[in-house]
Symmetry: C2
Subunit: 130 residues, 2 copies
DNA sequence: CATTATACCTTGACTGCCTAGGTATGCAAG
DNA sequence: CTTGCATACCTAGGCAGTCAAGGTATAATG
């Protein structure tokens, strides 16, 4: 389903914060995870995510750390299945920028998640019965 | 709660269509009904609604009809105070512009409501557990 | 060696919502 | 009667997040 892009507004931030509260991830990975987790209902573009990531970092909600991709590819984008962690020690890898949520970011997440719940509940209340 | 206004994007149209599928209403009334129905969680401004109404009419989703406010005021929006319903039979009233949903508008409503369900479900899937 | 997937980034345009204003009528209080 | 408030309509200008489209570079694949 092709969503009116307008709906995206304001939801990217809480979603990013929520994902990073589970574990640190890099941008490209976040896009894949969102697309997988929503079963393709959402299709994030990099042009949407990266500016948001930088904004959140500037606001102190995230902290970034460059890191080489370790031997066992942690990505496994398709790889819904087990993802056998090959412990091969190859140190060569592409540069990845891992983002981790800060304490401040967690507080923001709580605020934004609650905001979303209130908001979507309000919309549902009006749409109810349709 | 003061929402990030960004969330509003894309939700005004389905909400308006949903309300008008129940009964014809005029703009000012819609604002009041939304604010009441969401218990103040949403606070629509006229500057938000009127342009949307005009857009929807231009697209053929709504049809407008001017009408004087009949004696018995159908509004009773706030009604917070007693506000004795003066049953004065004056037929003179303020001009109101009643909007009714068209067949085309109903189809659009179905599409948009489903879109909202899919979308909010996807967001919830990511926010789940927060 | 060429192609694809990964992984990062930025610029410019778009568009819908908000702010802040404007007009006019009806009604209640002073 | 006059003042004020709620009703009821409208618009112009600005803002800000998303998208489309482009760019760079490395690793894996055929």
């Amino acid at each position: 389903m092709d969503f009116s892009q307008d709906l995206m507004r304001g939801t990217v931030v809480p979603m990013v914060l929520a994902l990073l509260s589970e574990r640190a991830m890099y941008g490209y990975e976040i896009v894949k995870v969102v697309n997988a987790r929503t079963q393709g209902r959402l299709e994030w573009k990099e042009g949407t995510l990266y500016p948001a990531l930088h904004r959140l970092e500037a606001q102190g909600y995230l902290r970034a750390r460059w890191s080489k991709a370790a031997g066992g590819n942690a990505t496994s984008p398709g790889e819904t299945s087990g993802a056998g962690v090959s412990a091969s020690g190859g140190e060569g890898g592409k540069d990845r920028k891992y983002y981790a949520i800060t304490r401040k970011g967690k507080a923001e997440l709580a605020r934004r998640a609650e905001e979303w719940r209130q908001f979507s509940g309000a919309v549902d209340a009006v749409l109810m019965g349709v």
